[in-house]
């Protein structure tokens, strides 16, 4: 009951948000929130740390951008194509990476994603360093014109909610329970007769496809796609969002994505503010030092704040009735 009220409040807030805030910024936040939730499906519920999710996010972005711009596909088919490409890359990467466990899994995903990065850097259809520019938004199902930011915002909101609902459904399904069993104790899951590798692979492909949905939508919204989205720093960024919000919590990644994207966008302003308050000139260059700040947040989170914001709040609520 409480949960339903909570979701209702968030939904209302999400619907009126574009009246207050810049819709493009909000859509970016929504796409990254979906991306982080998809990533969390793997790290939080299956216990697999992938450091290669940029390959799906950016890969789907390029696929959708190319399909919309060069083939002139309708918007919904373009996004579907991006999702399929991300799922295919996920199938390939997942099949290789699940052959090793633990830390090796992470290194393999990182290395394979870097391979895709070089591929996108050299491939003719991505525009190399310049990126893929001028991707049209088109119209949804041929009748809803998406060139209006506000209309597009509600479409993106619907896409994100659908993606999120699917993730919630997966987590609470019997399949999700098996994933959690694998996370808790893999040998036990094996001895219970589950084909662990098939479950891991399916979780990996699902996570890849949903990350692809986020990436494809983002390209359609912004109208361009660049190498930033396939670089390993993007894989690191989504890890950070999930970590800040809380690994293995449903809404944590959303909170993390909002905080990190807001921080990235407003860091310059914050820097000027700090500089005017403290009189230290160095703060003015804070906007250019996103990497330093991200690195610091990483270190602080890992050392002192491993449950993340939502994880800490939940832990406090759980402790309260007992005392």
């Amino acid at each position: 009951m409480n949960q339903k009220i909570g979701y209702g409040i968030v939904l209302v807030l999400a619907c009126i948000a574009p009246l207050v805030l810049y819709p493009i910024f909000l859509m970016k936040v929504l796409c990254f929130a979906l991306f982080a939730c998809a990533f969390n499906l793997l790290i939080g519920y299956t216990g697999l740390l992938s450091f290669g999710h940029a390959a799906f996010f950016g890969g789907a972005g390029y696929a959708t951008g190319y399909a919309l711009k060069t083939w002139g596909l309708p918007t919904e088919l373009g996004i579907l194509f991006g999702v399929l490409v991300a799922a295919a890359i996920g199938l390939l990467m997942g099949a290789l990476a699940i052959r090793r466990q633990g830390i090796y899994f992470t290194m393999i995903t990182l290395a394979l994603a870097q391979m895709f990065y070089f591929f996108y850097l050299q491939a003719p259809f991505t525009g190399g360093e310049d990126g893929l520019q001028g991707v049209p938004r088109g119209s949804l199902l041929g009748w809803l014109n998406l060139s209006n930011d506000l209309t597009l915002y509600y479409v993106v909101l619907a896409i994100s909610i659908a993606g999120y609902a699917l993730i919630v459904r997966i987590v609470h399904s019997p399949f999700g329970q098996v994933l959690r069993a694998i996370k808790e104790n893999e040998p036990r899951a094996i001895s219970l007769g589950y084909d662990v590798n098939r479950y891991k692979l399916l979780a990996f492909v699902l996570s890849a496809a949903l990350s692809g949905l986020a990436g494809a939508t983002k390209t359609m919204v912004l109208g361009f796609e660049t190498l930033t989205n396939v670089h390993w720093t993007m894989s690191g960024l989504v890890v950070l969002m999930t970590l800040v919000g809380g690994l293995g919590t449903l809404i944590g990644p959303i909170v993390g994505a909002i905080i990190i994207i807001a921080l990235e966008n407003k860091l310059g302003t914050l820097g000027y503010f700090l500089s005017s308050v403290t009189g230290i000139e160095w703060f003015q260059s804070l906007g250019d030092s996103v990497t330093i700040v991200t690195g610091l947040i990483f270190i602080i989170c890992v050392l002192a704040f491993r449950r993340g914001i939502v994880g800490e709040i939940l832990a406090r609520f759980k402790r309260a009735p007992a005392s």
Binding site: M107, Q114, Q122, T233, G236, V239, T294, I297, L303
Partner: protein, 294 residues
């Protein structure tokens, strides 16, 4: 004299360049393996510390007029000290947790270090001259051998084999190997394991810094030089497996050579060839060439 239509000189010089890159892979993957063995941490910051090693060499020359040979010793010592500080203040708290936190912490350190050097020096590379004693080259009759590159390969081989010797053949190395197998038991014998862990981390990252100083005259010293390398080194580690020290050295050198040869025959694939080999190895022998199946 041509082989497959490619002049043998061009091929030999690419082979040498491949060996140079291979020695960096070997030194970095060796350090990663030693650290992972004792600390159970995959040190993502290895690339950043390699970059710092190169930068310190450049800064030593630029600001203090210290030459290459001095910095070849001082820079690894400095970076080793930084490593010891990182281990003592941060890494130490994560040993009991899942491996992934060690990776995430060192990833954060990488971003921090890269970001700081970028905000001071920008992304463009700083050039570092080849030391006078090693300038020029030797004509071997069949090819022209740049002295500095030969020195890099030689120096790294010596360092790698010295490390192998210390770990496999000396008493100190025996403690280290015992600590890798079962650190509690070694501690019960009265050996200061926490100190050993700290020094191991310091040594591992000093090795990375040594590689960085060696690399400074070959490639441009830039804040991004480390992270580009570390991902390839991860692939090298996956290919070779971290179980064997000689295995790490051989895999590193071998992959460097293969990469160099790819640059001759099919340049477009030279950036990806290591990753493709990794994928093939994972299909054929998932535990890695020198790894043991657990």
């Amino acid at each position: 004299m041509d082989i497959f239509g490619i002049p043998i000189q061009a091929m030999l010089s690419q082979l040498l360049l491949g060996l140079v890159n291979g020695s960096f892979y070997a030194m970095l993957s060796l350090g990663l393996a030693v650290i992972f063995g004792l600390l159970n941490v995959i040190n993502f910051a290895h690339g950043a510390l390699y970059m710092m090693g190169a930068f310190f060499a450049w800064m030593g020359m630029q600001y203090f007029g210290l030459n290459y040979w001095v910095m070849l010793i001082v820079s690894p010592l400095l970076v080793g000290a930084i490593g010891i500080a990182i281990e003592r203040t941060m890494l130490r708290w994560l040993y009991k947790l899942d491996h992934l936190y060690g990776l995430l912490l060192t990833f954060g350190i990488t971003l921090l270090a890269e970001g700081m050097f970028r905000s001071f020096y920008g992304v463009s590379g700083q050039s570092y001259p080849v030391p006078d004693a090693l300038a020029g080259g030797t004509n071997l009759g069949f090819m022209y051998l740049p002295n500095y590159r030969a020195w890099v390969v030689l120096a790294s081989l010596v360092v790698c084999f010295a490390t192998w010797f210390v770990i496999e053949k000396t008493k100190l190395g025996a403690y280290l190997r015992a600590g890798t197998e079962n650190s509690k038991l070694v501690e019960a014998f009265g050996i200061n394991v926490p100190l050993m862990v700290t020094l191991t981390y310091g040594f591992g990252v000093a090795l990375a810094a040594f590689a960085g100083v060696l690399a400074a005259p070959v490639i441009q010293v830039s804040p991004l030089m480390g992270s580009n390398l570390i991902i390839i080194v991860f692939a090298v580690v996956v290919i070779g497996g971290m179980g064997s020290i000689l295995g790490s050295i051989l895999t590193g050198l071998g992959l460097g050579v293969i990469e160099g040869m790819t640059r001759v025959f099919y340049p477009e694939a030279s950036a990806t060839v290591v990753f493709v080999i990794m994928a093939i190895v994972l299909v054929i022998r998932p535990a890695g060439l020198f790894g043991k199946e657990k």
